[in-house]
């Protein structure tokens, strides 16, 4: 009986690339690639690991164009369960087709890969709008988000420009990652350096939020009310962290 082999890598992007480089050299056709964190052993499966080799990882990356690398990183940041295998085949075909890969939409790895990548950029774009900051009493703007994909890195690039003269922190609540920004630099930390329940807000925070909610409710035209449409554009899963939807969220069954 053929046992299914799962290849395992060490939870970082460069580790995955190293693994893929080795698999390409060995001409493997991987059925499944998983990060150590996500791998669950089952009765009929076995796993295989390769030693991390930064040299061959770098060599592989150097063969790929900027556009291809950008796409792979987007796929990597997604929460798609089979993203690693998609990346493997995407890279393998990129070596053959170069930038023409983007026109090879009849290949499964290409149309799947581009779909996943687009899903990540689209979510990033949505969060450029949906992220809500609160002003703390130490002049820091603080936001909590809970995106489906791991977009905090892409999102912070946007706020680095927009709020370049402010101090701000964005927290990905589920992944427990903070992005901290001050004076042109971003820092990522993943333990509880800041404890959200100890945060103290600026004395005007309440008044501003009230103004905003007031505006939000006033700007809607009653005769045109269409909450279904609203929900399809601003799905319920985001409500918890969107201040104007707070009250609706509290009243809804979650």
């Amino acid at each position: 009986m053929n046992r299914v082999v799962t290849y395992i890598y060490d939870d970082t992007f460069i580790d995955l690339i190293s693994l893929i480089a080795k698999l390409i050299i060995n001409k493997a056709r991987p059925y499944s690639i998983q990060s150590k964190k996500n791998y669950v052993a089952t009765l009929f499966s076995e796993y295989k690991e390769y030693e991390f080799d930064p040299k061959i990882a770098k060599k592989l990356l150097n063969k790929l164009s900027h556009k291809i690398k950008k796409t792979i990183i987007n796929i990597y940041l997604s929460n798609n369960k089979s993203k690693e295998v998609v990346i493997y085949y995407f890279i393998k075909n990129s070596l053959k087709y170069k930038d023409d890969i983007f026109q090879m939409r009849n290949l499964k790895c290409v149309h799947e890969g581009l779909k996943i990548s687009k899903n990540v950029t689209r979510e990033t774009h949505k969060f450029k709008g949906f992220t809500r900051f609160k002003l703390l009493n130490n002049d820091v703007l603080y936001a909590e988000i809970s995106p489906t994909n791991d977009i905090i890195f892409l999102l912070s690039k946007h706020f680095k420009v927009r709020l370049r003269n402010e101090k701000w922190v964005i927290k990905d609540v589920e992944r427990n990652i903070y992005c901290i920004y001050e004076k042109g630099k971003t820092y990522y930390v993943n333990d509880n350096v800041l404890e959200a329940n100890k945060l103290e807000f600026d004395e005007n925070e309440n008044q501003i939020e009230k103004l905003w909610k007031n505006f939000f409710n006033t700007i809607s035209i009653k005769e045109r009310e269409n909450k279904k449409h609203q929900m399809s554009l601003m799905p319920k899963k985001h409500w918890k962290y969107i201040v104007e939807m707070e009250d609706v969220y509290e009243k809804s069954d979650k």
């Binding site: 026109q103 706020f159 402010e166 103004l211 905003w212 505006f215 045109r224 269409n226 969107i242 201040v243």
Partner: protein, 398 residues
């Protein structure tokens, strides 16, 4: 009166302006706060499902004019309020910092006279740009009858200017907005067009028309739009379904705003701007759009002799005429078919809406259905059935 109450009054008076787009400008962030994003960003969606990207308010709702359809008309007995420039800056900056909004959309009723109103708007925007170093998106209303010099001043401070034409014909304007005339609007549009550059109204100008307040047909409306796009290089014409706000013998008796009609007009507007259609292709004189089928399908059914089109052969402009294919997927098809022969299965992966396109195309000379099904009756019936049902699901307890 406190800021809270003013905001309520002046947002309430501003909500009928349809424009909320924040795209088309890439104002950089230098010192100070914010930038403009070329793609535009929606920050929230109100209960009516419309996007909120700008803080949409009036500077004042105390108007000297008396337009029949307008909530702020002089003869209406409503609460009046006026913001101070500092108040507007305070709200804008604080909302922007918290990422509630993409910028400000400042409009105003005409108070005292047009130039006085313009000066108030200019003062506010200038305070925002120069004292608070705000680089976010600003859309301001150009007040009809304002002097060319004040338009010039304001245009250098904002990303977008707009003057609302409101109604598609001079006769309708005369009837419902006796203090306005078409010329006063086009005069401003012309001036904005002539001055436009990267430091003057970089995101271009827009306008708005009310739909269903007068007897003008859809043909009149899109014909007017296409003239405006052509003559004044407008970025957008917005359509706003007429809402019965005021009682007047001159206004139609409706209770439900014509939303479907508004939707069809937007679809036609897109066809004219991005798909190479002309107003006269889409409608005959005095006609209205079919509410059951969208304008592109209606056009395709009327010109069925041009179809089916072969996906692997026809050029970009031909592809654009196929229902279910837009600029993005058309470009994709052109690029991809150089690499491989496209099949029906591939089309789905390329973002083509196959459920509409399949009736109008062949892939490598294959038709999706039996060949003799390619006739108007079959296609029309199928497409009407595929449109979303128009009923609401019944609720148990109501």
């Amino acid at each position: 009166m406190d800021v809270q109450e003013k905001l309520q009054i002046l947002a309430d008076s501003a909500k009928y302006d349809a424009s909320c787009s924040s795209s088309g400008s890439k104002r950089a962030s230098k010192k100070g706060l914010g930038n403009a994003s070329i793609s535009g960003i929606c920050h929230s969606y109100s209960n009516d499902g419309r996007c909120i990207s700008l803080l949409k308010i009036l500077l004042t709702n105390a108007c000297i004019y008396d337009c029949e359809y307008c909530i702020n008309r002089r003869s209406n007995n409503i609460k009046r309020a006026t913001f101070t420039p500092e108040e507007i800056c305070y709200i804008t900056i604080n909302f922007y910092k918290r990422n509630y909004i993409e910028g400000l959309f400042l409009s105003s009723a005409v108070i005292k006279n047009p130039d006085y109103t313009m000066d108030l708007i200019i003062n506010t925007v200038s305070l925002l740009r120069n004292k608070y170093n705000f680089n976010g998106y600003i859309h301001a209303k150009a007040i009809l009858g304002a002097s060319p010099s004040s338009i010039k001043k304001l245009g250098q401070l904002v990303d977008r200017l707009s003057a609302n034409i409101e109604l598609p014909s001079e006769a309708s304007i005369k009837l419902l907005a006796p203090d306005k005339n078409e010329k006063s609007v086009t005069k401003i549009m012309k001036q904005i067009k002539e001055n436009k550059n990267k430091n003057f109204v970089p995101a271009g100008q827009s306008t708005q028309m009310i739909i269903g307040a007068t007897n003008d047909s859809d043909y009149d409306i899109i014909n007017k739009s296409s003239q405006l796009y052509q003559n004044y290089s407008l970025k957008r014409v917005f359509y706003s379904a007429y809402m019965p706000i005021n009682q007047s013998p001159l206004l139609p008796m409706v209770t439900i705003p014509p939303l479907k009609r508004e939707h069809r007009l937007y679809q036609a507007d897109w066809l004219m701007r991005f798909y190479g259609f002309k107003a006269k292709d889409l409608l005959e004189k005095d006609d209205n759009f079919n509410l059951l089928l969208d304008p592109k399908i209606t056009w395709a059914l009327k010109n069925l002799s041009e179809f089916p089109k072969e996906i692997n052969k026809v050029n970009y402009y031909e592809l654009l005429k196929i229902p279910g294919i837009g600029p993005t997927s058309a470009k994709r098809i052109i690029k991809c078919r150089k690499k491989f022969k496209i099949t029906f299965l591939d089309l789905k992966k390329m973002g083509v809406v196959l459920k509409r396109a399949k009736y109008f195309i062949t892939c490598d000379n294959q038709y999706y259905f039996k060949r003799d099904n390619f006739n108007k009756n079959f296609i029309e019936k199928k497409l009407i059935l595929e449109e979303k049902p128009q009923y609401e699901q019944m609720r148990l307890f109501e």
